[in-house]
């Protein structure tokens, strides 16, 4: 029997004022799987991720993350996950080294473990040269990569990624993709949200599409595309009724599939 990394049952979140961000969502993610969680803006993707990462309390439903029960074993969950959130969640008046060291220490890593991990991550994400500069002086892409490094500092079993390549140029995006592929190959379960359908198609083994707080379809990219006899864009439009905006398709940006 395959082991599950994430099991979600009837998870719901209603914010103050009665806004139903997520309604009765159920799905599971296998250990070592690369799972895509797609949906239009405001569909409930980020709220779902924030619930699964212990940042937001669910209104109802249950979830287990790495076999730890959400709400009861939150610290164990925190130790076993990494989360690169939408936007930048860095201390801008500190350096990359300071950011990484702080978070590493909070995960109870030893000085040597942190130093080794920092060295590895800075090299992988091409941040070695700016490691001692204040983050506020970084480009958007550098901040994004550092944010990913911070999420990876504790070598998480499960990695949540909320639009990790948003704002990256094609070269940077490709580097992140390659790194994520490698991470996944090495056994990390990855839970990804993205507006780039090509990204989901390229990276994910299974995809769930959420709309208005409810999951409308789950399957592998191939299965989903077969259902509409088209591309993943067609699947998205067909099941959500939303047009994909130009910026979501990223038509203005160079093709992320370019060879580098």
């Amino acid at each position: 029997m395959e082991q599950q990394a994430i099991v979600v049952k009837n998870l719901s979140k209603t914010y103050k004022g009665g806004v139903h961000a997520v309604s009765d969502v159920s799905f599971s993610v296998k250990k070592g799987e690369f799972f895509g969680f797609l949906g239009p803006n405001g569909a409930g993707k980020t709220t779902t991720m924030k619930m699964l990462s212990t940042l937001v309390n669910p209104t109802s439903g249950t979830a287990t993350i790495n076999n730890y029960v959400l709400g009861k074993q939150n610290n164990d969950i925190r130790c076993s996950i990494g989360f690169a959130m939408q936007g930048i969640t860095l201390d801008l008046t500190s350096s990359a080294l300071e950011n990484l060291y702080l978070i590493g220490a909070l995960y109870e890593m030893s000085r040597k473990e942190i130093d080794d991990r920092i060295k590895e991550l800075l090299k992988l994400l091409d941040l070695e040269k700016v490691a001692k500069s204040w983050v506020k002086n970084y480009s958007g892409g550098m901040k994004k990569r550092l944010d990913l490094a911070v999420a990876l500092i504790n070598k998480p079993d499960i990695l949540f990624l909320d639009e990790p390549t948003e704002g990256l140029d094609p070269v940077g995006r490709r580097k992140v993709w390659d790194y994520l592929k490698k991470l996944n190959k090495d056994g990390t379960t990855i839970f990804l949200t993205t507006h780039y359908m090509q990204e989901a198609d390229y990276l994910c083994e299974n995809i769930a599409i959420i709309d208005k707080g409810k999951i409308v379809i789950i399957g592998s990219p191939t299965e989903l595309k077969e259902k509409v006899n088209g591309t993943l864009d067609d699947v998205f439009i067909n099941y959500t009724g939303h047009e994909i905006y130009n910026e979501d398709l990223n038509t203005k940006a160079p093709d992320p599939y370019i060879d580098i």
Partner: protein, 257 residues
Amino acid sequence: MFKKELVKFIVLFNRGFKQAIRPYVAVVPEFLMPIFYFVVNSSAFQKVVDLPGFNQASYLQFYAPVALLVSVFMSSGSTGIETVTDISTGFMDRIFLAPVNRWYIVISKLVAVGAKSILSLSIMVILLALFGASFHGGILGFFLIFLLAFIFAIGWAGIGLSLAFTTKNPRILQSSYIFFFPFSFITTSQLPLNLLTGWYKTAVQMNPVTYVLEAMRSILISGQIGQKVLVGFVVAVCFAAVTLMISMWAFKKSVVR
């Protein structure tokens, strides 16, 4: 276990301290303002010492503790803005994702602000000495002044922290700067209590800052460590305890989402 928890607290304290002093140039006005008050008021009110009942030989000496206290106000006054910045940039969520006791986040920040106020006070003592002020009370006196500043800074920072967690709005935090004026001016900063009258005297007596200032004055000007100092410490501790409880409550409400 204890060592691991201590390490977490220390790294959060370090980060809170660095945040409070960075960028370094932003700290300069925290010294300029008390120095400005000190130079202007000690010059403008020189003749006030001739008033019957003033009982001080020099207004410069009388005003020096006020400048020190203003520097404590200044050094701890940006805590709310710093916290709102952490919330709005998502850095607070980054900390929440780590397996760390939530209370460390608040307490380490307040302790860092208290430490910064000691640093500011040390620099101010040197600056005021350069401007002609002299201080009494010896090593014990300075130790007590630093301890008092540390406690009071935590109390003052607690107000900003409470507003930050409650409103999460940088504009409101900037506006909250106005609290500084009644708290710092409606005190015995300009004249001793025996020369004040009417509602103003009552307001001064109700202001906790008055007692902290009087304790500082008692130590630094007359070198006396007696009842005024004890009262100053009791008031400072109570003030800090109240604002700490309010900021904890506001923090708890803000993290339950």
